[in-house]
């Protein structure tokens, strides 16, 4: 293993996690907000769909995504012929898979944060003439910073550590879809334990540091409140 290959894999891993987290922040906040306020009868159905990746084996999700992305099928063909790109075995395919797979890790903390706020805060903002979006961004979200941070970090860390979905839909193309967790598996298969350890150690340290940061920052948030 060359240094260049190692760094290419690491950069790819964190790029995937960063892009996934960013996209999920935009999807997760509105989803969590809607789930926290709705009284609709289909709420349990939406909650189930959002939570499915928590319990579903990653290979199941990966399998169906693989089938869907395949140019043999309608969605894959649409992407390739109309939009002009292929999702299967590509970076953006990985991003889409990761977004679906990590959705509950972003939605759950934000949803429970929003639900823990007294309803009177929303009502007070309404009485002051504020729209829903102003209320969300200026009153609700600033008061659930610990939940937001938890959502962001857990999503990031979870995407870094993802294996099953990535393997199914991404394969193992260096610099394109070969992320650290795949690389570890691959190096072990080749009995290349030193290289595997190299990857594993970096993942271990980074994950530890990220979580440590969350707990320290959250503690200072809570002390301020």
């Amino acid at each position: 293993m060359t240094d260049a290959a190692f760094w290419a894999t690491m950069v790819l891993t964190f790029k995937l996690a960063f892009v996934t987290t960013l996209i999920l922040l935009f999807i997760g906040i509105p989803t969590a907000y809607c789930l926290s306020v709705t009284t609709s009868r289909i709420k349990p159905v939406i909650e189930t769909i959002v939570s499915m990746p928590l319990v579903l084996p990653p290979t199941v999700l990966g399998f169906y995504l693989l089938v869907a992305f395949s140019p043999e099928n309608a969605f894959g063909r649409f992407c390739e012929e109309v939009l002009g790109f292929r999702l299967v075995f590509s970076f953006w395919g990985l991003v889409l898979g990761s977004v679906i797979f990590s959705l509950p890790f972003m939605v759950h903390p934000i949803q429970s944060g929003l639900q823990s706020l007294p309803k009177s805060l929303t009502e007070a903002a309404q009485m002051l003439g504020k729209s829903r979006s102003t209320t969300l961004f200026r009153v609700l979200l600033p008061n659930i910073k610990p939940s937001l941070l938890t959502g962001i970090v857990i999503t990031f860390a979870h995407t870094v550590g993802e294996f099953g979905v990535v393997l199914m839909i991404g394969g193992n193309i260096p610099g394109e879809t070969r992320v650290a967790s795949i690389a570890i598996y691959d190096e072990v298969e080749a009995l290349n334990y030193a290289a595997a350890n190299h990857y594993a150690l970096v993942l271990f340290a980074v994950t530890f540091l990220i979580l440590l940061l969350v707990y320290i920052v959250n503690r200072s948030f809570l002390q301020k409140m």
């Binding site: 009177s120 007070a124 309404q126 009485m127 729209s131 409140m225």
Partner: protein, 292 residues
Amino acid sequence: MVEIDASKRLHSAEDDIKLRVSASFKRGDFVAFFGASGAGKTTILRMIAGLLRPDSGRIAVDGEVWFDSRERVDLPPQKREVGFVFQDYALFPNMSVEENLRFALQKGDNPSIVDELIETVGLGAFASRYPSALSGGQRQRVAMARALVRRPKILLLDEPLSALDHTMRSKLQEELADIHRRFGLTTVLVSHDPSEIFRLCNYVFKIEGGSVKKEGSPSELFVKERIGSSFKFTGEVLSIERCEMVYLLSVAIGTQIVKIMATKKEREGLKIGSRIQIVSKAFHPMIFKIES
């Protein structure tokens, strides 16, 4: 003129009650909805504010229709020009006192009203503090000031002083009355405390069984019911001593033990352990101020 005629089915813990309220009052009035907890007082406020939709009815303020089930009018809370002081104050924890008030400014409002209101409620020294660093009384004042930033047509107060101790409560009652006068407000108070209503309001609606059972000035409503010309205490006789021509009773009233003189006639039929009622006329009591 504020006219409310609204009905709403409520699901409470015990049973479903049908709230059917019709009440009207003038601009500048300080009115109260009075009743036991669970009677639906807060529901009425929430319907006026637009936070809760009546099943049917009509709510109009100064001729402007805010809700009408037949005409299908239902103004959202943002458009109703109402100030609402919540029971838990609902201050935004992420904003300082000043920011809480500034948040209430609408586009084009003159921001000087914020400083003016902070001074009015005497919180000039606390403007940059966060709600978590304020006392209950101070939070109440911030909630009050914030509700006034929009210069509302009606100010709604949902048991605003219930979480405060006695001294603070009576101080804030004075301030409330003062603010009501100074800003020329129409104020609606929800309360279960007759003395509070007596001090503040000029008109009371008594809510019982889901509708307005009685209405009138506080003295009309409470004098007959609650305020009599005599004191009554019930107590238990602990001992009976004979003392020349009369008897001395030791009576336990609440946590106090009192010695009371009784005539021979009054003593008849009493024995240790008897429950008795002691009545005294209220026209010649001695009154001492309790220093606080």
